[in-house]
């Protein structure tokens, strides 16, 4: 090693990148410590990311615990067909996409609106308080979040259900009404994430060229006109990127919150693909069937991501790659 280092003394010629046959080897040898450093994290990626990717083949096999993944016989598309043919296939698809799209429709513009409103307000105690308070729910864990939801919606006890009662709503057992599940899920998500989601837009608005505002003022633009013609256009690049990412995750609907919000009364609208995968696979031990559903889900996600990215690139020149 030290011999190599001597060869590469600063004043000697080989320091200049050589196009020789052994140039890569020399570069590696010279910075061998960096390869040593990267070894452990790469091992992590291989064990916990790449081995599970290879494990996808379980979806095409009749997995048997004793024979192991490699020893189990191939089953082709059997488990995929079993899922497509199952009576609940369309129900779970509908629930998953329904909640996702509803969530996107409400949850995507919400932080933008909050950021635009905060941007109008002068820096001061009021603005700081709104920011501090609205970011805070982001740090509440999912378990606590769902508990807060249940407690606040307890009929005759929780403050939210009491408020609805005052407004004349009859049945206030909200968590048990299947048709309300989507709304409760989506609006509580808005409650939890809007403030934090606004941070990135507030930053984008802070970066707007002041000359644009000057020009708008000279032209006699009102505040609303200024928002429409200066603020909103300046948010488009960030929002397109975030929209692509969100659309690519449409089917990746979070397991945790939905699973915790489920109860026997609302299952008809609350069972989604991720909760079904967990129940069938880990609780029911149908590994291959469950893995097939997981693969189906990922394929749709990846396709969505690629398609949406392509469209965004064509339409607005903003894209992930």
């Amino acid at each position: 090693m030290s011999k190599l280092n001597n060869e590469l003394h600063p004043l000697s010629i080989p320091l200049v990148p050589t196009a020789g046959r052994y140039a890569p080897l020399r570069k590696i040898a010279r910075h061998w410590q960096l390869y040593l450093v990267i070894l452990l994290p790469i091992a992590y990626l291989i064990i916990f990311k790449y081995v599970p990717m290879a494990g996808i083949m379980i979806a095409f096999k009749d997995y048997n615990v004793i024979k192991g993944i490699l020893g189990s016989p191939w089953a082709g598309m059997k488990y995929f067909n079993q899922f497509f043919d199952s009576p609940n296939f369309w129900l779970y698809m509908k629930n998953t996409l329904g909640i996702s799209l509803y969530g996107l429709l409400v949850g995507f513009p919400a932080p933008i609106i909050l950021a635009l409103a905060l941007n109008e307000v002068r820096n001061g105690l009021f603005k700081k308080s709104v920011q501090l308070v609205s970011y805070a729910p982001y740090f509440i864990s999912t378990v606590i979040m769902v508990s807060i939801l249940i407690v606040n919606l307890t009929p005759n006890v929780g403050i939210v259900s009491k408020l609805f009662q005052m407004l004349g709503v009859e049945n206030t057992n909200f968590m048990g009404i299947p048709s309300l599940f989507k709304s409760i899920y989506v609006w509580s998500d808005v409650w939890q994430h809007t403030g934090y989601g606004a941070i990135i837009y507030i930053a984008a608005l802070a970066g707007v060229n002041p000359e644009l505002y000057e020009a708008a003022k000279v032209d006699g633009a009102s505040r609303i006109q200024k928002i429409i013609n200066v603020d909103i256009p300046s948010l488009i690049p960030v929002s397109v990127i975030l929209l692509i990412l969100n659309l690519g995750n449409l089917m990746k609907l979070g397991f945790e919150k939905i699973y915790l919000m489920q109860n026997p009364l609302n299952l008809a609208t609350s069972e989604v693909i991720s909760t079904y995968v967990y129940k069938v696979g880990l609780l029911g031990s149908s590994f291959s069937f469950s893995a097939a559903i997981g693969v189906f889900n990922s394929v749709i996600n990846l396709t969505l991501l690629v398609v949406v990215n392509y469209i965004a690139k064509k339409l607005s020149n903003n894209s992930l790659w």
Binding site: I38, L45, F48, K49, Y50, G55, I144
Partner: protein, 299 residues
């Protein structure tokens, strides 16, 4: 003429600002009210809570709910377990993230692009739940403390943020100069890179720590023994599944044998469990905001 126009516009603007302030006040109230209601209920008597008398202020002040929470051994164990997973997990997270992000930030690192591709692929494809579970099972990690730490030892997103930071704050000239002076790469990381990266290390630590403290999915699928359960699993059992075990009641027998005990306990438990994060949060808020900003540089 011009004058009337400008007055009309400014009054329109004034009305608009009134609406903006009203909207933001409404946002403030909507976020605060449900939380305030829970805090007030946790200090109220069970009867007042159950009969729906509590709105924004405690009714018949009492600390019984808190006594029950602190007398519960399960919650104590969960708290200590979570503390362990958070401290050890975060430490491993930060070390591994730097170990991967720094070499990838060096322009002279041969094979950098190949490793980057290896990294980005993991963001687009994933094995899914079942293969992930089977890997942990095959490694004999099921129902051990390691199952809470190793599978999530690294977040690819954090690596990319850290790499962006290293690239923009540590100039190539610096590592080249150190190289010429005979400073080894590992020594360079310890004596130059880390001291220069304190802001990103702080952000990373906070992000990882909150993630560990709030996590419950890995515990749900990997752990079976109650004495390994993190706080979030205990909370789920008590708050959502309503399984208050006998010891919980027995300990606080005399004072809490009334109706509504379980409910009161829930309110106090929510306050105790989310309290630490929400109390620390205003002090570290700026770091989180900074984290979001650095993350957005990528896009």
């Amino acid at each position: 003429m011009a004058r009337t126009v400008s007055i009309r516009e400014s009054s329109g603007d004034r009305l608009f600002m009134v609406l903006v302030y009203a909207f933001l006040t409404l946002v403030l109230l909507i976020v605060l009210l449900p939380l305030l209601y829970i805090v007030s209920s946790s200090f109220s008597s069970p009867q007042a809570v159950v009969s729906g008398k509590v709105w924004l202020f405690p009714v018949q002040f009492t600390l019984d709910g808190y006594k029950a929470v602190f007398n519960n051994p399960q919650i104590g164990t969960g708290f200590l377990n979570s503390l362990y997973y958070t401290v050890v997990g975060t430490l491993i997270n930060v070390v591994l993230t730097v170990m991967l992000a720094y070499p990838l930030a060096r322009k002279t690192f041969y094979g950098r692009n190949m490793f980057m591709v290896l990294l980005v692929i993991t963001m687009m494809f994933e094995g899914g739940l079942i293969p992930y579970y089977l890997v942990v099972k095959e490694l004999n990690l099921l129902d051990t403390r390691w199952a809470m730490i190793l599978p999530g030892a690294l977040a690819v997103f954090q690596v990319i943020i850290a790499r962006t930071f290293f690239q923009s704050t540590i100039p190539d000239e610096l590592s080249e100069a150190a190289d010429l002076d005979g400073c080894s790469d590992i020594r360079f990381i310890f004596s130059v890179v880390l001291p220069l990266s304190k802001p990103i290390l702080a952000v990373m630590m906070l992000m990882y720590a909150v993630g560990h403290w709030n996590a419950y999915f890995d515990a749900l699928i990997f752990l079976r023994s109650p004495d390994l359960f993190p706080l979030q699993i205990v909370l789920r059992n008590v708050l959502i599944l309503n399984t208050v075990d006998a010891s919980m009641i027995a300990n606080a027998n005399q004072m809490l044998a009334q109706q509504g005990l379980k409910d009161l306990l829930k309110y106090s438990l929510i306050v105790v469990a989310s309290g630490p994060v929400l109390i620390i949060y205003p002090f570290v808020q700026k770091y989180f905001v900074k984290g979001v900003m650095i993350g957005s540089l990528k896009g």
